[in-house]
Every structure is written in structure tokens, then in C-alpha cells.
């Protein structure tokens, strides 16, 4: 794969807990090849629920193949921003946007944008694991089938590859025909990741993917993100700042709908420019 066992090991060696800032030391990471261009870029982008402006004039470039974390206090618009990228906000009738949000240079909210095609390229994993009430196999095969794949053998290959990528193959390979709701929460979440990967998206949006999981399952998901880094553009919303520092290359800090700071993760956590950011990461307000 993309990463040696050693590198993975080192990415999890817990940093010393003495000084508050020390825990945000960036872990050793593999180098990313071929990435670094602006995959998603927002310009003066706002999202409204009716009159209420939940995301305020955000401008930022999300680099391809890197991991970008979004942090900020509850209700600051992290999910709203994330869901704007694959237009999941379309489900909320009162929701509308202004400014521009580009994906590969195309306007996501453009007149001729096909949101179905967009969502195929921009996959999403939600806060609560949400497998379909179908078999594990059918869950993973759902996306490929949707996009016209019907060959049994090829489907099986895709299912295995996706489950392996999501590091859950060994746990479920002997019960692919069992209902996915019978899995544990952590397994379900990795299944959801696998289901998203099966569609072969370019971008992975993760909205607090580990908030419902125990530390062990959380570690597995974080491992997974490290594995996928370099192959996908990943955006992860998290309330856990250690997690953000462990998995991400750059971080966006939102506060009351405003993008306060956007910097390389190491820099943002060790040397924040804005006093609000500093207050937040040092835990001076909740």
C-alpha cells in the first residue's frame, strides 16, 4: 500500500502529554505525490438557512490528495460547509447559497451542474453510521450497481477491494450476506467508508466520523484516513483536536460561520495567528 507498517506505527506513537501544545505535534507522514492543487475552492461563499447566514463569506482552497480538518465550536457551520460541497443541503428546502464554490474548477452551484454526478465524485460519511438495512455485500455494491455495474464477478471484486481499503475485510469476509445492521458501531462506520469508496470518489467528506465510536474503533478510522491520504482528497470535521492534528495536513477553524484561520495543521496548532483560534485550541472556551 501507500504506507509502510513503520510509518503507520509512528503516526500513532502518542506525543508527550506534558505541555498543552506538545500534543499537537504533527506525526510523521508519508509524502504525497501528484497532489496539492486546489481541488475545491470557495470564494466569498455563504450558506443561508432562510434569512440566517450559517456560513459567512468563506474563501479557502482545499488541496487535492491532502487531509483537511475543519474544527470549531458547536453550531459554527462546519457541517453546513461540508454538506454544501456535495450539495446535501439541497434536502433542506430553506437552504440557499451565495458566492462561488468550485470543484475541479466547475461551479458546484452552477446552473448546469448535475448534483447526482457531483455526489458520485464527492462521497460523504456521516456522523452516525448509516448502513442500509441490507446485506453487507448489497451495501457495498449499492453504489456500483447504481452506476451500471451488474457483473457478479466484478461486483465481488469491487466489494472485496473496498472492504479491504476500509480495513474491515477480515472482520466481515465470512458473512457478506448478513445484514449490515448486525455489525458493531465501529464496523458499521468502516462499512460506510467502504461503501463510499466503492463508488470511487475523488473527494471524501467525513462529518465527525468517530464521534459515536470508542477509542479502538476511532484509532482504526484514523489509520484508515492515513491509508487513504494521498489517494483521495479528504475533509474531516472533528471536535477532537488531537485527532485533527494527528490526521490532517491543514486545518480550517470556523467561528460563528466565519472562517477565522486556515493554515497548515502544525502551524495552526503550535502558532495560531488569531487570538480566538488560540483560545479555542487551548480550551479556554467550550
Amino acid at each position: 500500500m501507500l504506507m509502510t507498517a513503520d510509518a503507520r506505527e509512528s503516526s500513532h506513537s502518542a506525543p508527550a502529554q506534558k505541555a498543552k501544545r506538545d500534543i499537537y505535534l504533527p506525526p510523521a507522514r508519508k509524502t504525497v505525490t501528484g497532489g496539492g492543487t486546489a481541488h475545491i475552492s470557495a470564494k466569498e461563499f455563504s450558506v443561508y438557512y432562510g434569512e440566517f447566514e450559517a456560513v459567512k463569506k468563506v474563501s479557502a482552497d482545499i488541496l487535492s490528495k491532502y487531509v483537511t480538518a475543519i474544527i470549531g465550536p458547536s453550531g459554527c457551520g462546519k457541517s453546513t460547509f461540508l454538506r454544501a460541497i456535495n450539495r446535501m443541503n439541497d434536502l433542506i428546502p430553506s437552504c440557499h447559497t451565495s458566492g462561488t464554490l468550485l470543484f475541479d474548477g466547475d461551479d458546484i452551484y452552477g446552473k448546469f451542474t448535475d448534483e447526482v454526478l457531483l455526489r458520485k465524485k464527492v462521497g460523504m460519511v456521516f456522523q452516525k453510521p448509516n448502513p442500509f438495512p441490507k446485506s453487507i455485500f448489497d451495501n457495498i455494491a449499492y453504489g456500483p450497481r447504481l452506476h451500471g455495474m451488474n457483473d457478479k464477478k466484478q461486483l465481488m471484486e469491487i466489494v472485496e477491494r473496498s472492504l479491504r481499503k476500509a480495513a474491515i475485510w477480515d472482520e466481515v469476509c465470512d458473512r457478506l450476506d448478513k445484514n449490515a445492521l448486525g455489525l458493531s458501531g465501529g464496523q458499521q462506520q468502516r462499512l460506510c467508508v467502504a461503501r463510499t469508496l466503492a463508488v470511487e470518489p475523488e473527494v471524501l467528506l467525513l462529518d465527525e466520523p468517530t464521534s459515536a465510536l470508542d477509542p479502538k474503533a476511532t484509532a482504526k478510522i484514523e489509520d484508515l484516513i492515513q491509508e487513504l491520504r494521498g489517494s483521495y482528497t479528504i475533509m474531516i470535521v472533528t471536535h477532537n483536536m488531537q485527532q485533527a492534528s494527528r490526521v490532517s495536513d491543514s486545518t480550517l477553524f470556523f467561528y460563528e460561520g466565519v472562517l477565522v484561520e486556515h493554515a497548515p495543521t502544525a502551524q495552526l496548532f503550535t502558532n495560531p495567528k488569531d487570538p480566538i483560534t488560540e483560545d479555542y485550541i487551548t480550551g479556554r472556551f467550550s
Partner: protein, 448 residues
């Protein structure tokens, strides 16, 4: 609240709950027991040789050899009765005119009672109606008829202040001193020999057509008619209802038109079924002319309109109960809205939709009023599948009503009516039971 009172409250609520369930079970038993016991007597009963004769002649069923010997035995005993009749007739001829008139009247009553009991007497012209071709086919009926033969019923209305009362006078007394007098004790003593009662299991009640408007035979045309009507109604109403529910829940924009449609739907659910019957006649038959007159098609359409609101509501509720997360998951994988509905939402809502469907199916099977003017006839043979567009059909619900209130000899064939009631109750219960099983199965599959 202290723990003591809390416990007492808990217990009393439990007791209340159990109590109400017990009361409900008792009520159900009180209704079901007579239905079942009476209904079963249509299939399991003590049949006479007349029943076996009827089966052989009308349905070509039963062993003819044993029957021949049975008929021989019964004829041997019956011939004595017939001999006594001939002897009395010659005696009657020789009587004085005064006496002759008096006896003739009584004698014709005796003959009628005997015909009802044993079938046509020797020398009678062959009856036109099948019901007069045979004597009593059921033993309990035969016992009633013997009573009619032995006793004349009279009404005592001497006292104008009270209701007139029925009382019985022995016919034997009326014929005392004539050659007919010994006939009465003879018949009552040899009834078993003349009718040869035996335990009978008549499954044909379910699978046979009726003969001579339900005097003999079974209720297959009614069962089949009920089946055609209910399933036909379902074929129209189920897809339409589910599509409407999908529209209401997924596509309709909230607004005046939408709330108008919804309240119209709710109102429709409360409309009395007879109104649907009239509507079916006026709209489907008179206006649309789906058939020239009553037909299964018109009836099924009418029933479909009647159950449509229920199906829509059940489906709406089932669809709304599907977690939002399924929809999000599917859409985020690049699924279209329609595909999400078809592959995720509807399968997850299926148990609820099916439950609503089968409950409606039971209702369609049981309703009488909507088919009175649109599909039902009181007697008729089972129709073929190709005839559903043009032919009316008998149906259980309507024929129960008909047998209870409009049949010219309803009291003679109560067992048929009870049998129909049991059949209808069984059909509806079976449908509801299958709904429960189906629902449990699908839910289990969905829950993993």
C-alpha cells in the same frame, strides 16, 4: 412519590392492562365460538341417505354400490308408509261427502309433510325444482320435519290481551279410527331406517357450486367471487395508493393544493361504504360504462376507490417512518431521487405498506354495500377469469346478507349461511394473519 405508592400504581396499571386484554379476548370468544360451531356444521353434520342420493345425482360423487343397498333398505321401510297411504286413499273414497271433505284437507297436509321429509311420494309428478326432488338431507332437519308431520301447529288467540301462542295438536288423534292412524307412530319409530343417518364430512361445501339457490351444494362461486373482487380491488388500489403516497411524501410541494388533496383523502376514508356503492354504479357503470351492467370489474374498481385512502395513509406513514439517514446515505452515493425511493425508501417502508395493504384487502373482501349495485348477484355459477370484465359474481358478503333477509326459504338453509359467515371470517382472518407473518419476516430481514 414514595416507593410504596409507586409500586402500587405500577401493579394496578399492570392489572388494568391484563384485565382489559382478558375482556377483549372474552368478547372475541363470545363472537367467534358460535360462528365457528355453527359454520362448521355446514361441512361436518349427520347426513341422511337423501344427501348421498343428491350427491350422486347432482355431482356424480359417492359410491353407488353401497348407496344402492342403502336405498333398497330405506325403500323397504318407506314402502309400508306408502302402502298405508294407498289404503287410506281407498278408504277416503268410500267415505260420506261430509267426512270426506274434512279428512281430505288434513290428508293433504300430511302428504305435504311426508314429501318434505322423504322426498316425492310414489306417483307424484317429477318436481321441477331440485329442492323438491329429495327428502331431508340433514338429520337435524329431518327431526324438525317429523315433528311437523306428527303435530299440527295451531295458534291460540282466544285472549285478545296477550300475544297469540303457538300450540301443537297431534295429527294421529285427528285420524283416529282410520287406516292412517298407525302411520304416525310407524314413521316416528322407523325414521332412522328410512333415512339412514350417518356422520358426513362434506368438503364439497367449499368447492362445489350451489344447486337450486343454495338448497344443496357449496359456496365455491361465492368464495371465488370474493377472491376476485378483493384481489381485483387490490390490483388497482395498491399501486395507485403507493404512488400517491410517494407523491405526497416526496414530491408534493407544501401549499394550498397539497393540503386540499390531503384533506380530501382523509375525508374519503370516512365516507360510508354505501355511498361508494352508489358512486360505483353512477360513475363506473353509467358514466364510464366499463361494463354493460354489474361486473366484477366495476365492483373491483368501486372497492378500490373505497380502500384507496387507507392504503395511501398507511403507505405515507410507512415512508415517513424511514430514517432520514437512509435517504442521505443513498443520495451521497450519487443516487437519483427516484432511485433512492425505489431501492432504499420503499423497501424499508415495505412492512408498513404491506400491512396497510392487507388490512385493506380484508376490508375489500368483507364489504357488502359497495358491491350491491356494481358486482353482486345472489345466485350464479363460478365465473371464469375471462368473464370478470362482463359478468357479475356471487360473493360471500352479499350472499350472507341475501340468505339472511331475502332468500325465499332462508330458514331451511341456515347452515349454508353460517358456513358462508365462517368462510368469510376465515378468509379475512387468514389475510390478516398472513399480513402479520409477512411483516414479521420482512422486518426481521431489515433488522438483521
Amino acid at each position: 412519590m414514595n416507593i410504596g405508592t409507586r409500586k402500587i400504581l405500577d401493579r394496578s396499571f399492570t392489572a388494568l392492562g391484563i384485565g382489559s386484554i382478558v375482556v377483549m379476548a372474552m368478547a372475541l370468544l363470545i363472537v367467534l365460538v358460535p360462528i365457528v360451531t355453527n359454520g362448521i356444521s355446514a361441512v361436518f353434520f349427520t347426513g341422511t341417505v337423501e344427501h348421498r342420493k343428491m350427491l350422486l345425482h347432482e355431482f356424480k360423487r359417492g359410491g353407488s354400490e353401497t348407496l344402492t343397498s342403502e336405498i333398497a333398505t330405506s325403500d323397504r321401510y318407506r314402502s309400508k308408509v306408502y302402502d298405508m297411504l294407498t289404503r287410506f286413499e281407498t278408504e277416503l273414497d268410500k267415505m260420506e261427502p261430509e267426512k270426506k271433505r274434512e279428512y281430505k284437507e288434513k290428508y293433504s297436509q300430511v302428504k305435504t309433510a311426508l314429501q318434505a321429509l322423504l322426498g316425492p311420494l310414489p306417483g307424484d309428478p317429477a318436481p321441477m325444482l331440485t329442492r323438491f326432488k329429495y327428502g331431508q338431507t340433514r338429520w337435524e332437519k329431518a327431526e324438525e320435519k317429523v315433528h311437523d308431520l306428527l303435530y299440527e301447529s295451531k295458534w291460540d288467540n282466544s285472549d285478545p290481551n296477550v300475544m297469540s301462542k303457538e300450540y301443537f295438536v297431534s295429527r294421529a288423534l285427528g285420524f283416529q279410527g282410520t287406516s292412517l292412524a298407525p302411520m304416525f307412530p310407524y314413521v316416528s319409530e322407523n325414521l332412522e331406517n328410512m333415512l339412514i343417518p350417518g356422520f358426513t364430512v362434506y368438503w364439497g361445501f367449499i368447492t362445489d357450486s350451489s344447486v337450486d339457490s343454495h338448497f344443496f351444494g357449496g359456496i365455491w362461486p361465492e368464495i371465488q367471487g370474493t377472491f376476485f373482487l378483493a384481489v381485483g380491488a387490490m390490483l388497482f388500489a395498491f399501486p395507485l395508493g403507493v404512488i400517491a403516497a410517494v407523491y405526497f411524501t416526496e414530491y408534493a410541494k407544501p401549499g394550498f393544493f397539497n393540503s386540499l388533496l390531503r384533506s380530501a383523502n382523509s375525508t374519503l376514508a370516512g365516507v360510508p361504504s354505501i355511498v361508494f356503492g352508489m358512486f360505483g354504479l353512477a360513475f363506473f357503470i353509467n358514466t364510464l360504462k366499463v361494463s354493460e351492467s354489474k361486473s366484477v370489474l366495476a365492483g373491483a374498481l368501486t372497492l378500490a376507490i373505497m380502500i384507496l385512502p387507507t392504503i395511501i395513509r398507511a403507505a405515507e406513514e410507512a415512508i415517513l417512518a424511514v430514517p432520514k439517514t437512509y435517504r442521505e446515505a443513498s443520495l451521497s452515493l450519487g443516487s437519483t431521487k427516484w432511485n433512492t425511493i425505489a431501492t432504499v425508501i420503499l423497501p424499508a417502508a415495505l412492512p408498513g405498506i404491506l400491512t396497510g395493504g392487507v388490512i385493506s384487502l380484508g376490508r375489500a373482501a368483507g364489504e357488502t354495500a359497495p358491491i350491491i349495485f356494481t358486482a353482486a348477484v345472489s345466485v350464479g355459477s363460478a365465473i371464469g377469469l375471462a368473464d370478470v370484465f362482463s359478468s357479475p359474481t356471487p360473493a360471500l358478503s352479499w350472499n350472507i346478507y341475501n340468505l339472511a333477509s331475502e332468500h325465499e326459504a332462508a330458514s331451511q338453509i341456515r347452515h349454508v349461511q353460517y358456513g358462508m359467515v365462517l368462510a368469510l371470517v376465515s378468509v379475512v382472518l387468514l389475510l390478516n394473519l398472513s399480513a402479520i407473518v409477512l411483516r414479521a419476516r420482512i422486518s426481521k430481514k431489515l433488522k438483521g
